[in-house]
Symmetry: C2
Subunit: 392 residues, 2 copies
Amino acid sequence: MGCPGYRFAVLHCGLKKGDQLDLALIVSEKPAVAAAVFTTNKFPAAPVIYGRRQLAVAMPISAVLVNSGNANACTGDQGVADVKQLAKELSSVLSVPEEQIFISSTGVIGEPLPVDMIAASLPRFPDLLSASGLPAAATAIMTTDSQSKTCSVSLQLSTGVVHLCGFAKGAGMIEPNMATMLAYLLTDAAIDCSRLQEILKRVVDKTFNRISVDGDTSTNDTVLLLANGVSGCSLACDADAKVFEAGLYQVADELSRMIVKDGEGATKMVEILVKNAPDRQAAEKISRTIAHSLLVKTAFYGEDANWGRIIAALGYAGVDLDPGRVDIWLDRIQVVADGQRCPDYREADGARVFRQDSFTITIDLHAGDGSFSLLTTDLSHEYVSINADYRT
Amino acid sequence: MGCPGYRFAVLHCGLKKGDQLDLALIVSEKPAVAAAVFTTNKFPAAPVIYGRRQLAVAMPISAVLVNSGNANACTGDQGVADVKQLAKELSSVLSVPEEQIFISSTGVIGEPLPVDMIAASLPRFPDLLSASGLPAAATAIMTTDSQSKTCSVSLQLSTGVVHLCGFAKGAGMIEPNMATMLAYLLTDAAIDCSRLQEILKRVVDKTFNRISVDGDTSTNDTVLLLANGVSGCSLACDADAKVFEAGLYQVADELSRMIVKDGEGATKMVEILVKNAPDRQAAEKISRTIAHSLLVKTAFYGEDANWGRIIAALGYAGVDLDPGRVDIWLDRIQVVADGQRCPDYREADGARVFRQDSFTITIDLHAGDGSFSLLTTDLSHEYVSINADYRT
């Protein structure tokens, strides 16, 4: 697990209790072309503000430092100054330009970042760097995650073989548009900056932006894609671009599914597919409303095929629809036809679907050609325990 | 507890298990002027469809039949025909015109209403009617409620004394715009129909529509206000109208607070007050987003004054705002000033606020004069238990 031209290191600097890893470093042997997608939250954390400025000027990235345990969010100008100071300190340790250092943070909001504590640990990094350190890095960025999340593929382009690997964290506060989720995608392909950004945006829209655990969008979240070109292989033709984008989709899709499966306290993974809505926006609104309904989520948890709750959520989603044309399926079992219970639907069939670890709810509005699919989880006792006790 | 000119009766017809009460009847000795507010859900239940038609033609109401245990929702044309048949059967039992009978249902969605079972019990009602039966009626309409909800006041108008009493049910699926909530408000004042509707709408907007347990809006919910005029006292002047509206507000406010306090598994009642937003809509959007955040609700439950979660929810509410101008208070403790943690905020102070059964979170945007206040609850283990096991 890894990617040519990238090395990784992790350590414990003291942000987390005990001796838990709380710092991860990625170093690219050549400055890498970078693309990123950031949170849409109106309170972007300091590293997001700082990172956006780097990406806005197409800054190549040579190193990525990620800390867990403190989000450096709602920390004002001092928070941004803290990011800058960390970049400066790491710059001298690694001998790379300060502006080529990308920084992410995840953890508690509103506490000042203990910069001196982190800076004091940075000189230990150079001796720890290793090409095989990606799994450890995936572990060091975890917060409430129960397991680390990594994925890699090799791709055959017309110009040769390139590699693509990624790791991510996130288990709660997971929602569209980048919730407390961090993902780092690394390739040795040679790709120019604007193309890299286009591809990343398309892939994120179909993967990380289609998962939802609790509907909470965080202040920090970031998907960063680096392409250092050490393979010497570029996207020489349209076919290469397609292969690369498909590979990136595969890695991003796998990582985002891992995040949903690891959703705080989740016992089920449920796809909400809305078809034939007036338009895509309407389909998305409905799927998110259903996915966020506490009554629907607790019914998943209770393995109770209470489709009335799905109907109720559909009805308050704020989308104009004709109730008399709505069909609903639980996997391949049709439960609602034309807005009413199917005459031949039997509770036992629905119950069998809901007892599975993973299933799909399909809502067909027969009102247009808009569709949207969202992956979500149930709401369990464990979710409440994790989030009622997070800081204690 | 009661109101001159109204009698009540309850019985068990078999919709609920064991011998639990599942039918309630209100009879007015004179046809009463009626006003109502119904759910905004796109899948209105059959009795809501039927009731809207009655109210649209200013039909006076002589009797109200409420069943619990079955919502008669998503039951199509048959569901509406079932309501009509029940009205007809009850009409002959009570000797009042069929069209003056108002019907409500609450319970499981999507099951056909067992009309024959209900109809068979109706002839038992006349012998059971009593002026003091309101508390029993409040009990018979309960579903997951842990206690019945009643309230009454007497009002001195220029024309004499009038009475106002009400009862309600609702504990989950509680959200703006009429969630699984039923409320019946009865007065012996003499008030014309359009005025009654105006007053009811204004009062509901400030009371029942400002509470939220889980953000789920139901298919059935209804607030019905009857004025039978048996006191002979009308609203003769503006001062009378004010006294009546204030009294109605008091009853509706009390009942809606009872619903929040009885929120499924709720251990806290929290007011989310958003001030100085660009406009009222923005303030409402923010207060609802915060009230619905699972992370905020679990922090209430965990008595963890994790204000970062409030900030995060504020940031994804979809309202344009300047993060650097936001202030947040927990009761009278200021925790955020100008978008950052207050220098003199101490965790212990926030923790003290969160340990109370009831407190207020105030968010000041300093961006206009829009404000909105919402009453909500925490999210507890008990909520998950209640809703995972509702039908089993």
